[in-house]
Symmetry: C2
Subunit: 218 residues, 2 copies
Amino acid sequence: MAEKDTKERILDAAEELFAEFGFAHTSMRKITSTAGVNLAAVNYHFGSKEELIKAVFTRRLMPINAERLRRLAEVEAGEPTLEALLEAFIAPHLEMKEAGGNDRFVCLIGRSYTDHAPLLNEHVRALNKDVVARFKAAFSAQLPHLPRRELSIRLHFLVGTVAYTMAGPEMIHLLRGVRISEGDNAKALVERLVPFLAAGLRAPLPEQLPEFVVSRAS
Amino acid sequence: MAEKDTKERILDAAEELFAEFGFAHTSMRKITSTAGVNLAAVNYHFGSKEELIKAVFTRRLMPINAERLRRLAEVEAGEPTLEALLEAFIAPHLEMKEAGGNDRFVCLIGRSYTDHAPLLNEHVRALNKDVVARFKAAFSAQLPHLPRRELSIRLHFLVGTVAYTMAGPEMIHLLRGVRISEGDNAKALVERLVPFLAAGLRAPLPEQLPEFVVSRAS
DNA sequence: GTATCATCCAAACGTTCGTTTGAACCATAC
DNA sequence: GTATGGTTCAAACGAACGTTTGGATGATAC
């Protein structure tokens, strides 16, 4: 009881502070004092700051990815379109509010892709691995003309667009004051992202595409 | 002589380390030892770590933005196309190598957009302000049907795509080992980004577009 | 020669960090 | 009652941080 209470208070405080100040600039003392718990509580319940960060993401990402797969199955049950796939892929992140999520976390997700934190990147990548593979196959089926390699690159572009859009403290820097959790802003954003991304994914390939030169290992 | 040498050695080391480890995880001691200078040199020449970070960006961003404006003028001298504008906007970042830039800086530029460092964000925004305004007008002329507000949003998507693509330690996570400075990878990347982004910018608007709800202060 | 000035340097400053400790607390089980 | 085991707590740990100091260094001007 008290345990779970403390753990969740810590997760909530950490989520909020990480989103606002970043991981490196959020100290354990700030987290625990915001959560109203003892300084040692984080190490007791999570082991370390690093593990706390991972726990913050795991808590939100698991239900989001479940929802993404649910929507994917729903779309594939009918006659899938590229737009429907994109919405299934993107919307669960932005509409987290209804799933009990704090809208602060939306910008944390974005940051998990863009921040330099190798251990976190790997953790998030692992959490998303199955979902990404499933969606990649679905996208590929909708874009049969696109070589696998080129699809991968364009999906990378896609992730960048979404991550950057989510990473801002306000949803969009240009529109200061727009918050994802307000009204139907999530829907407004999805309905702008989907046509943009669908058109990008469908864009014809240039006739002569120079290959990338791979150096180094792996 | 020795001064300029020291300053540039510091800038080079800082650029490299910031790109690899991020700002918060790069200590002054690591910077100065990598540069082979005394610990106090940074504070002597730059005043503080914060000012050093700004100097790292100013050094590279000024010539890049000059080049962007030069290319924009070149494009506008003929009959501009959306693709040509995009290339003028994007390519100077990626082809910095030829301008004497370290390819490590490419990923630093990306990070300057995505990292949470308000003072740096503002600094970079100020450095880019004029360029962005000029290009925005040029894009608007190529997309006369697109309401200004919607153009702004799509340009935000664009920046996200480019920034995220540049922010990875390797140019593209999917293609480990691809480095922008190798061979013509910059060109290969530009020729994939441009069609993707041009198609996205040109995408038709949905008939019914829900407006964003603005809360809070500006 | 001496004076001047920017630069460099070893050493230390005070602060903050993540983590650990060992005792106190308080349910529940016996 | 006593024992147990998970939880909380104040306090302290050593390490790393950005910054400052005051003198040494070395070139240039006179």
